[in-house]
Symmetry: C2
């Protein structure tokens, strides 16, 4: 036994010696296997169908932009941008999100209104936490409405879209928290926060979904130098959430009612909730004063959708660790001033949008599959052509060509004389519904044997009726499975 | 007039002064507009359907790889690889094609056989020729069969796939030229080319689709130091193309028949043509001794599909300018030794694959649309909800929610009181087939007016029959348009 261990060790060393390089994907990235791709395609189909149901067009932009296009848009997070090496020519960076390229696209093409979606990968040199579904290369699914419209009409449609998608993805109960930049700013002002501290206090509030209030208060007072009395006042507001009745109460609030911003924000919020009722999603939407969202460019309504089955209990350790709370699967808001940053004359195009956190969704659905031990199909093959004896590959080829030309999804072995058992095993492994079997006798009698793979029932079909018979059987199987 | 010109000039200067930066995409890249995306989606649908019809799975890999993964795979072209800036951490490069990442994926996951497709963008710091459809960021659509199978069976399926796709994309007549690395090497040997010059002479032959033979001969003799007599001998072979009868003739050829490589290659080519016949694509395939293809990693069959409507007349100026000939829309071949470069023990997985030149296809189809002045739809909206009077936005919202929840693709204006004419104009511009009109009288009578946008026919429908009636009408319209 000792010797065996030594030999094993020796084999390992030999192995390492021969290896010329590390075989891996870059840190924070991954390959998608066919299994994962099948899940990914299913999720994208659901999301894209919803976007199209709402009349959206789609665009695409390059994976990299001129560095200066991204400069000054992400605040502190700019350090997470991937730069390309200067190989002589332009200075380039990988895109950090899809919103800034969208704003650049609108300004460059002088587009005043568009309803568009964009699904693509973005890049952040963040500390990866891949088990939590956080990567350095990840997908964003963005839907945005650009254009000068009446208040809250496009904003409400974004919420409707989030609700439809989360419903269809079947991820369990969810809530869409909403708030308003002007309500937050008005509240900060009313609580005695100096204006230059609005953004930094706002980013402290943003941590409330993962951290206890006490820690947030400490950050405000000790780190950010806020008056304790102001912090305490903020504390009384950010604990509140509700519906129209809360808005009405806050509109009567002594402090808030003095703030023009707060009043305007609250009135808009009331209208938004009214529209959500008309869209039939009132029970999914919760006005929550603690929702802050980090990004600087938001100017109006902000929102975030949270899966109730995954809700986080705040913990000190988790503070600042995640961009999104654990159960958070979508977020967005209104950004009316971003396009103007790209326009020579500063001309703005008001925008509101939402981003679906698909990586999180992938992780959840993958875990579901693993738990259920159901293997999702990775191909769509409908028919496998089996030869019962040796050297019938030419007959299989002719038969397959006939099926392909009739738009039937078909496969056969790339070996001349595969064993019948191997071929049937393949059908079962890949969950292919039908097998067409040919042997000497079938060829002589000008027939094929059609086999239902799961029931193992077989029947003989005349060769010239084969395509027709297959199509009929596939239709029947599909009806049954519904 | 003089003054007007001066004012215009002044305005331009003022404009430039205000512009803080250049508003553009990086050199060699472009945005895709909704129109272009609609075309792109159509092309991808056709291609993916074909891949799935042949039982392919799909995978995805990161947009960048460790630099060392790409090193030593592309020969001279390595200088075209985009590197990322060293920001502390791994040294990374953007992928140059999808084949090397595929080989890395197979080796890393110890996969012995797979039939997969991969559609993604790749990056080359080439001189862009965007009018010719050549970009620095562009799509590749790859289909590959990995695994140890019987000769020419997977290779023939790749050709079948190319033929199906080009047929369905409806790009006119095409031919798939085929050749074999071993036939080329055997021919070079038989013509007295020293073995160390095989690759460089091969890359000279590769230019024959864009250059006259005389210029290729000059390159061989003057630049690459080949004996003039050898060059002339090569010239007699590379002028030939044909079918099985040519192979039989070459098998009898005094010089070639002495080469083991040439004989093996010719026998395999004969088998491939036989299989193409069984797959019903014999008339699309042409054995062409001048087909060389640059990439070093090919080890067996090579092929390239050419649109006859776009065939190039060779010109001295065009030499070396293009990676693909003008009419070339697909290419590929067998590469049996690439995976082994990533395996610690050098274990190989034989592979054969094809890459569809979709950027070329996009350009051709875009040009077709422009010439025909037909505007392709960029949305799939089926119903536009129109309000006939002011302030009916809440009724529109309720109605739209009903349509969305019934999975009908619907839109309405994001303005509270849009003009009826504007709404109808939008329907016509966007080619939306149906409008649902509501006004005071409709609301009172609990009906809606359904309008066929192109015929302008209208009919009244009870509100509670609306969804049903819309679905029926959409089905009827679809049947008519077929």
């Amino acid at each position: 036994q000792e010797v065996a261990k030594l030999l094993e060790l020796k084999a390992q060393i030999g192995d390492d010696g021969a290896k010329k390089f590390v075989l891996k994907t870059p840190k924070g990235t991954r390959d998608y296997s066919p299994q994962q791709m099948a899940i990914r395609e299913g999720v994208f189909d659901t999301i894209i169908s919803c976007f199209k149901r709402h009349g959206a067009e789609t665009i695409d932009t390059p994976v990299f932009e001129l560095k200066e296009t991204l400069t000054g848009k992400y605040g502190e997070d700019s350090k997470l941008i991937y730069d390309l090496k200067d190989q002589g020519g332009e200075i380039l960076s990988l895109r950090y999100d899809l919103t800034v390229p969208f704003a650049r696209y609108l300004a460059m093409n002088k587009i005043q209104n568009i309803k568009r979606y964009h699904i693509a990968k973005v890049y952040r040199r963040d500390n990866p936490a891949m088990t939590k579904g956080r990567f350095r290369e990840f997908y964003q699914c963005d839907f945005d409405i650009a254009g000068l419209y009446d208040p809250m009409l496009p904003d409400a449609e974004c919420l409707k879209i989030v609700a439809e998608i989360l419903q269809e993805l079947n991820l369990g109960e969810f809530v869409i928290k909403v708030n308003h930049r002007k309500i937050l700013d008005g509240m900060f002002g009313a609580c005695g926060v100096p204006e230059e501290k609005f953004r930094s206090i706002c980013s402290a509030v943003d941590k409330l979904d993962k951290t206890f209030w006490d820690d947030v208060r400490t950050e405000m007072v000790d780190e950010k130098g806020l008056e304790p009395s102001s912090a305490d006042l903020i504390g009384t507001y950010v604990k509140q959430s509700g519906g129209t009745e809360l808005i009405d109460m806050l509109l009567q609030d002594e402090r808030l009612s003095k703030s023009k911003d707060a009043k305007e924000g609250l009135e808009q919020m009331k209208l938004l909730l009214r529209y959500c009722e008309l869209y039939g999603i009132k029970d999914k939407v919760l006005f929550d004063l603690s929702l802050a969202r980090g990004l600087d460019y938001y100017t109006g309504v902000i929102y975030e959708a949270i899966l109730k089955g995954f809700t986080n209990t705040p913990s000190a350790a988790g503070a600042g660790e995640e961009q999104l709370g654990v159960g958070s699967v979508a977020g967005g808001g209104r950004y009316d001033n971003l396009v103007g940053m790209f326009d020579a004359k500063g001309k703005n195009v008001p925008c509101v949008g939402v981003s679906i956190g698909v990586e999180r969704v992938f992780s959840i659905i993958e875990a579901k599959y693993q738990a259920s031990q159901i293997k999702s199909r990775t191909t769509q093959t409908e028919v496998y052509v089996v030869s019962a004896q040796k050297n019938l590959h030419e007959d299989r080829m002719k038969l397959c060509a006939e099926l392909w030309d009739a738009n039937i999804k078909a496969e056969h072995s790339c070996k001349k004389s595969p064993k019948p058992l191997t071929q049937f095993q393949y059908c079962e492994d890949m969950q292919i519904p039908l097998a067409i079997i040919i042997g000497e006798s079938e060829l002589q009698n000008n027939v094929v044997t059609m086999r239902n793979v799961s029931s193992r029932e077989e029947k003989e079909v005349p060769r010239d009726k084969m395509v027709e018979e297959i199509k009929k059987t596939l239709r029947d199987l599909q009806t049954q499975s519904k």
